[in-house]
Symmetry: C2
Subunit: 416 residues, 2 copies
């Protein structure tokens, strides 16, 4: 166990990170991953299975071009607010594949339902990978029939591997908290490294919990939290056609059903938020070609929404990203991004700090040590940029990564 | 002379490119450029001078953080709608320099007015370069006193050189057209290669003409044209604090004052538009690290505005830009950008062509030759992407450049 997070309140809820936790730590969940042949060598097909029908919530890409599996999964989830299995393939996104793509997605769901002996609407499916190529259904169907979810850490790891594309590392986290005096676990996994931008885009994330919580309540919490976490990261400003976050709650912790009125709601909400924030940051840190995580904190904005928007603009600026890659304390590019954010600002009252180095006070350059700033950026894996607009009380964060030669290398040749 | 452009109409107006034309080709204009010492070696101070007070129109960056010289120049232009001299320095942007920056900008205008024996409001000034450092006014003032504008092509070239920063080439163009049977010239010059984004940002452009046209009429034309040209280019999505387009009209062609009611208005408007479009494309082509110009044409959109917006999204996508650098016909990234443009589309009716190669018809991949597409991209300096949304009749263009290793190299170390 490490870390401990608290929110304001009379009794601060306890949220504890579980070091060897995974998506199968919450009671009732199993997972698996295998090689179906869609990719040449690596694992490319995975499943999460729940012993009981789990309450489910999901958020989807805001791209108007949505891949076929999203339509099918929405249909499943909307039917009853419960699913019991989630099947994912990587290597082919089944996007821009027209009528045949939709048929393939239905077939993928149907085969999965047969294999797990579930009604079709208890199955969610999703895909990630190349756009515009038809699925190799023979390989996918053969693969589905071999899925054998288990509750071991190794099975969870195999699932994690099976959902990756250009990712260089696994993204995962597990927390515990207490509801009605009972331990509740939340485990999460994510993929995504390019095409990462706000507005619920460009990544997959799957979260499991054994909390007893209704799907409507869960949906509300997930939507709120997504706006503060997954929608606050950007790698390249692109928003993919495929991505989604799915939370499944088995209820096997056997607590009183959670609602915002429950005395332990804050702890559950915080644990879910910490899970999503951790995964979001892991995605940003693993942005294609990234060498550093950039965290931008904006204070003093008109409101929290505008603070988040400004933070996103800064962390999304190619010029800021390039400067961080070059460990250059180029606050001029930061203030420039603030200026074109479209948000309310006072041009004369802006403070900017890069790590411990205050570079701008009241919109005027200070005589800071370039050496100290450079050394801070060179020696820290996370570069923190703090902005105070001194306008009002809005605050917000966003995360991204630097722009390196490797981003270009990876994206100049991904398909070929 | 080469080229000839026509617009629809009973009698198509004639607009002819003048091969050795420049900003001093229009009657009444002189220019100069010199080394003042703000930059280490290259020319860094220039001026355009007009023998008579010239009607003036200008558009400015939409960044809320605006550099000091913009405020001073706006003041000059708003006073009477006429200026007679424009003084530019490169190497220091005089942006984010607070009260002292404003004082320096006023001093720069005052010294220029003294030197040219003009009222202060007949002088516009502008700066480009590093943000957040105070101007070296001793060098600037000494330089201003040495400015000797002339009407030779060499003087115009010296001005062009003096306004460059990370640009690798001069951007210039000159057209002639006929008004009242008289020759009218329009000459233009521009700088800008990074921080280039729409909404009148991130570049300087100066256009001279000897047409007789009132400043209000000129302003309306410039604002319209900017939306279709300078605001349709992007290099990295960033919008600078300093940039502006200024058009000066000496009136020495001695035509009847131009208004939209004048029979030759269309020719003049077209010549001004061609000038701005040519400069905009030259800027995009010279984007930092660019190896190619990308031109995106969108047809079949809800309206022209949305077509332009979609075209901008496509040409601004780092993933599309990287794919063009890698000569990869990755239409998936193009349709993805269309999807997140925020514009009205029908996801099932989209056609995409890359040069002569139709890659997507009615949102479904065709079996096109990857080789042919690759060869087209390898062998053309301009890569044309054509999109038809088949929704309505809106059409629009945008221009940008590919994203290369050199973009990262240039921007990881620009300041240092």
């Amino acid at each position: 166990m490490k870390g401990g997070h608290h929110v304001k309140g009379i009794e601060a809820p306890t949220v504890i990170e579980i070091e060897n936790g995974s998506i199968v730590t919450p009671r009732g969940f199993q997972a698996t991953g295998l090689h179906s042949g869609v990719k040449r060598k690596r694992l490319d097909l995975g499943a999460i299975y729940c012993e009981v029908p789990a309450s489910v919530a999901a958020v989807y890409t805001c791209n108007r071009i949505q891949a076929a599996p999203l339509k099918v999964t929405k249909e499943s989830i909307e039917k009853e607010g419960k699913i019991q299995a989630l099947v994912v393939n990587s290597g082919n996104a089944n996007a821009c594949t027209g009528k045949r793509g939709i048929e393939d997605a239905y077939e993928m769901r149907k085969q999965s339902a047969n294999h797990f002996a579930l009604p079709e609407h208890y199955v969610a499916i999703t895909s990630t990978g190349v756009i515009g190529e038809y699925m190799n259904m023979e390989k996918i169907v053969t693969g589905i029939k071999q899925l054998k979810p288990q509750s071991s850490l190794e099975s969870a790891e195999a699932f994690n591997q099976a959902i990756l594309t250009t990712d260089t590392i696994n993204k995962k986290i597990c927390y515990e908290t207490f509801v009605d005096g009972k331990k509740v676990y939340i485990g999460g996994v994510a993929k995504g490294s390019g095409m990462i931008n706000p507005n619920m885009a460009t990544m997959l994330s799957f979260v499991t919990t054994d909390a007893n919580v209704d799907s409507n309540v869960l949906q509300q919490a997930l939507s709120d939290i997504t706006n503060q976490t997954f929608n606050r990261i950007t790698v390249d400003g692109d928003t993919s056609t495929n991505d989604m976050v799915v939370v499944m709650a088995s209820g096997l912790a056997d607590n009183e059903s959670l609602t915002p009125a429950h005395p332990d709601w804050d702890g559950f909400y915080l644990a879910l938020k910490e899970t999503c924030e951790s995964l979001a940051k892991q995605i940003a840190r693993d942005g294609e070609g990234a060498t550093k995580l950039i965290e931008v904190q904006v204070n003093g904005a008109l409101n929290d929404e505008e603070a988040g928007k400004i933070a996103k603009k800064i962390v999304g600026s190619d010029l800021v990203k390039s400067a961080v890659f070059g460990t250059d304390a180029n606050w001029g590019r930061i203030i420039c991004a603030i200026g074109y954010s479209g948000c309310e600002i006072n041009p004369d009252t802006i403070d900017i700090a890069i790590g411990p180095v205050q570079t701008l006070i009241q919109s005027q350059p200070t005589t800071f040590s370039e050496e100290e700033a450079k050394s801070y950026m060179e020696n820290n894996d996370t570069v923190v940029i703090e902005v105070d607009l001194h306008l009002a009380n809005g605050s917000g964060k966003a995360w991204g990564c630097d722009l390196s030669y490797d981003y270009v290398r990876i994206n100049a040749g991904y398909r070929t």
